[in-house]
């Protein structure tokens, strides 16, 4: 797999756009999945995932061919997601109670973005709840949890993607797990 990708990268380096299309085909689901779990909505996820691929294309010269391509690509995608999360930090929280109501949160005020007809399979309530709980995690824990448990990457790869010491990655994963445990323990 990596060998095929590297051949394609070399073709892209020579300027062949079609070869890049094949790279997109190979990684699109992974990158989209990563963005979706980080951002919590399809529209933004598609936006960011596309942006990640376009950036990869534009900056392909800076990719070191001796490293894993996926690591490099995930790093671009992860950084874009983190930027997006920081930028759109809301000044109110959706799970805060609406004033004057009892137990009614802002979630009930917005149409669910995931509940499109074609998303029937995911719109099961459980999936939504879990996604919502992941989205509630602070971004530094959310990133490692998503990379570890949704993209199923090794701790070493995560440390490379985030350019962070292995020890820091572990600590964040532990804290992220604890935070999620508290949120999900009643399920």
């Amino acid at each position: 797999m990596e060998a095929i990708v590297k051949t394609r990268v070399k073709q892209v380096l020579k300027g062949d756009q079609n070869a890049f299309g094949e790279i997109v085909e190979i990684y699109k689901d992974k990158v989209f999945q990563l963005s979706f779990r980080m951002l919590g909505n399809r529209h933004e996820a598609e936006d960011i995932a596309q942006e990640a691929f376009i950036r990869a294309y534009v900056n392909i010269q800076s990719y070191n061919i001796n490293l894993k391509f996926s690591t490099w690509l995930y790093r671009i995608a992860t950084n874009l997601c983190i930027d997006r999360i920081r930028k759109k930090k809301p000044d109110y929280y959706l799970d805060a109670e609406v004033a004057g109501t009892e137990g009614l949160t802002m979630y009930s005020q917005i149409p669910s973005q995931t509940r499109l007809p074609e998303d029937d399979v995911e719109s099961l309530e459980l999936q939504d709840t879990i996604q919502r709980e992941i989205s509630k995690l602070p971004e530094k824990y959310r990133t490692v949890i998503v990379l570890k448990y949704i993209d199923e990457l090794s701790l070493n790869e995560i440390s490379e993607i985030l350019d962070m010491p292995l020890g820091t990655v572990k600590t964040r994963i532990h804290r992220g797990r604890e935070a999620l445990r508290k949120q999900l323990r009643h399920m």
Partner: protein, 215 residues
Amino acid sequence: MKCPEKWVVYMHEYLDEEISAEHEKELREHIHHCTDCKMHFHQLKKTIALVQSTSHIQAPNNFTANIMANLPKEKRKVGVRRWFMQHPLLTAASLFLVLMAGSLLSTWNQDQQFSVSKQPNLIVQNDTVIVPEGEVVEGDIFVRNGKLKIEGQVEGNVTIINGEQYMASAGKVTGEIKEINEVFEWLWYHIQETGEEIFQVFDEQKVVGKGEDNA
């Protein structure tokens, strides 16, 4: 009863698959009789299972096409080169045609002045070449950018490039008469000529001039 932190640390070591054999043994024994820690451990494992259970979603259908449409335009040089690499035969053919056309057109433009192939008994008046009455011209006649009047007899082919020919009733040509006025005809003529020359190399005796009567 509050258990020491180390049990939680062991649990995470376990979940990272980095726990040593003795830590794992200790943890198992501890969990066996500490319900609080057992629950904590169970909740952690359940959390992971839940996170992993979020169904694997796929990128939208037109995802790749959208990206390809949004990529910065590749340098045209590359596109042209790829086209050439994919169609080597067409490339060779088009290159040949371009060069051929170029060289032929340049000869066409060079030959704007009046010229005629020399034969002893031809009469030239301004840009008109006359084959006089009663005379017999032996050999082919070429006239460029001029008119040709045939009143006598020509024992051979007549070729007029960019001109006209008038045949008097008594005139006679034993070979072929060709009039070439357009660039494309000129090109075609040239190609035919080249072809004929090549055949002549192979079979010299065959080309003697066809006996055709164009009275």
